[in-house]
Amino acid sequence: MSERTGNSPAGVRSSAIRSVADVLVPLLVLAVLLATWQGAVWWWRISPVLLPGPGAVLTAGWKIRVSLLEAVWRTALAALTGLSLSIVLGTLTAFAFSQSAVVRRAFYPYAVLLQTVPIIAIAPIVIVSLGRGFSSVAVVSAILGLFPIITSTTTGLLQVDGMLLDLFRLYRASRWQTLLKLRVPAALPYLISGIRIASGSSIVGAIVGEFFVGDGTPGLGSMIQRKSASLVLSELYATVGVATLLGTVVFGFITVLGETVLRRRFGMSLGGRISGPRSGD
């Protein structure tokens, strides 16, 4: 009877097939969707003023590629600034929430407000305090990203296995030691999945921010606004498509980065759970 375990080659192969399928199947769905769209535009001879086909959208996107790239760069910069801000503020808030039930009870409702207050409503406040421009856009983006990070990280810091807490009590660990050596590492998968959700929100925040608190410098949001006013639908679709692509790329990048860091440095996965005990073999 062996007490050893290892990754069987078959297990590795099947998981590789699964991750290829994870990419291929959604791409297939996209291809079918685009083909149907293009086919419908041809079949019913829909006017490009009403609905441009994917081909026309791609052509339009290529035509305005320089200004699109510039807009992507600006919006991405604002979103990443906002995301970084929400990571720092969200993590600190989660630390405070994890240390005291009183603090948690007193301030959690206000954290929920971050999620529910419409951005249009706080836009004037942001403009009054920061003026229109990049920093206001970044702040709106941070506000949208903050909530997922606070909830996810707080859950992670609090949801520590009772046996592990007993272990730390047994050795008379201080509150600080328990936070640094147990709660923080145990919460890492939660923090990363919080960041993952916040990354999407922060891009939405940056685009919407440009609508309401931007100074009109070309970002994806102001570009969408301009294109929809000028009724050049193919260019509007191209801009919206690029904005979606940006969100997907950032989400994917953070997922891969997070998974890699967790696996390499901490031997954990993004399932949101610490690997539990296995039965003996």
Partner: protein, 259 residues
């Protein structure tokens, strides 16, 4: 009971969780001499795990008294455990930190106590519990369930404890592995003269391992039997088959299930 050599001494210990009329432990008195291998058996809900947690200082008493070592007194309600008694604790599950390697998991008790970490001693500890030095750099996720349990046992020994507390540590492993782990625990007790207190619901395990078995029934009955198991010195394999083993088992069954 020789009170002066007792490492633990409980007098009229009471523990309840909120409702004084339904205590988990009721008027338990028990002295545990240094160097003994004591096993507490009893049905689910008899409070045996709570008893162990009281001894470990993880649960404070609602009433009565607990003395750790001679003279080290802790007040009934305060429950501040005496600092000088070092206890190692093995939980029902390995309870390892998955982000730390085996060696880093072993270092944890020393880090928390701000003790100097001597890797050489910790590595030899790995070998004592049946792991190899090559396992030191592996994470728990790369170890089997049995190896995780061994690592957990090694961690309980990392601060060179005077007493080893085991809370049904072999409940989740299969029979073969359980027998191997039992032999490891008994060997550690014999080699170090380590006071060992085991909580289990497995009568065979109790009869095989212990010098003394206490039978606990749910409160208000408490401790209903207290056996000393005198045995002829035999190798582990012979011990499992020895006729006295069956005698012990019958005595324990009779105490747990009186006809």
């Amino acid at each position: 009971m020789a009170e002066n050599t007792a490492i633990y001494s409980l007098r009229d210990a009471v523990v309840h969780f909120g409702d004084p009329l339904r205590p988990v432990l009721h008027q338990i008195s028990l002295g545990i001499p240094r160097g003994q291998f004591l096993t507490v058996v009893g049905p689910s809900g008899c409070g045996k795990s709570t008893l162990l947690r009281v001894l470990a200082g993880l649960q404070s008493l609602t009433g009565g008294q607990l003395q750790r070592l001679a003279g080290a007194n802790s007040a009934a309600s305060g429950g501040g455990p005496a600092a000088e008694l070092r206890a190692g604790f093995v939980f029902q599950q390995p309870a390892l930190l998955p982000w730390r390697t085996a060696l880093q998991n072993l270092r944890l008790p020393l880090e928390l106590g701000a003790d100097a970490s001597e890797d050489e001693r910790l590595l030899s500890l790995l070998e004592q519990v049946g792991l190899s030095r090559a396992d030191a750099g592996k994470r728990p996720g790369q170890l089997s369930g049995g190896m995780q349990m061994r690592l957990s046992l090694a961690r309980a020994l990392a601060r060179d404890p005077q007493v080893l507390l085991l809370d049904e540590p072999f409940a989740a492993v299969d029979d073969f592995l359980r027998m191997k782990l039992q032999d490891s625990v008994r060997a550690l007790h014999d080699a170090r003269g380590l006071t060992t207190i085991l909580v289990t619901h497995n009568l065979q395990e109790a009869a095989y391992l212990s010098d003394r078995v206490v039978v606990l029934q749910p409160s208000p009955r408490g401790i209903v039997a207290d056996f000393s198991l005198e045995r002829s010195c035999l190798s582990p394999a012979e011990r499992r088959r020895a006729p006295e083993q069956f005698e012990f088992l019958q005595q324990l069954s009779a105490a747990l299930f009186p006809s």
